[in-house]
Symmetry: C2
Subunit: 130 residues, 2 copies
DNA sequence: GCCCAAGGTTACAAAAAGGGAACTGCCATG
DNA sequence: CATGGCAGTTCCCTTTTTGTAACCTTGGGC
């Protein structure tokens, strides 16, 4: 387990300025903490995708949730939606600069999740046994 | 806006191995994406806290949600709960090494949220106007 | 003429998350 | 003896989120 880290490595500038009524943490995490948003952001970090490509890349998402999550990400400025007037109009979704900048810290959490998934599952089993 | 970043800075090891039925991203984000968990983790990153101290430090949380969120964080191995048999028993909550290691990448997202909160709010206003 | 793909929307149902208030047991203080 | 702090638990209700399924339009291929 590489879970040991010197606490000096952590800087939380937020602690001094946190406003609970207008909380940036909630505002951002509320979106990226949804069920599908992180997965879509991961896919889009690779390259732009069309609507149907995203459906295929995230197999168990419904059309409804895909539309809704993309609209939310677009609203927050993380994703840009571009309609190309081809024969059947095609719609491309791509990360904006803001979305790409979010992915820098977010990918840290994602990689942590990958690395420490087993430790979390083990902790749950220990807790549930007691 | 410092939202521009070279995409080379992003490494998503997860892309090749992602299993949608046993998804580490969901497993971890599901917890830390809750309404109260990030705020509690931030408080606990400072120092261990007792139950009532946490209530005071996160003023609008109810007793019910505080207990429940702490139990979830304990179950996942992020927080340790220690009961001291003092006159009125006092209960201390502290980050575990696993919890502290999570805070390293998580604080990156938190600081991003602080820095880019205004950009997100501005994007929302633009979107809602159209 | 029929069916399919793209890119959705709408209505409805189910499930999960969160909130409010009351109640508990223990001990201490005034 | 009443009040208040600590650390919760329980019940019930509302809100939010997610899922299921059906429907829509335009255009192309067979």
């Amino acid at each position: 387990m590489d879970a040991r880290v010197s606490s000096q490595a952590i800087r939380l500038d937020i602690l001094e300025t946190l406003d609970f009524n207008n909380c940036p943490v909630r505002d951002v995490m509320g979106q990226i903490g949804g069920k599908w948003a992180p997965l879509l952001l991961i896919s889009l970090s690779e390259r732009p995708y069309r609507f149907s490509d995203l459906r295929r890349s995230v197999p168990d998402i419904s059309q409804r949730m895909l539309t809704q999550t993309l609209r939310d990400l677009e609203r927050d400025g993380f994703v840009a939606r571009t309609v190309y007037p081809t024969k059947p109009p095609s719609v491309e979704y791509a990360l904006t600069p803001l979305g790409r900048s979010l992915l820098v810290p977010l990918s840290g959490v994602i990689n942590w999740a990958e690395s420490n998934h087993e430790a979390v599952r083990a902790a749950r089993i220990r807790y549930d046994a007691a």
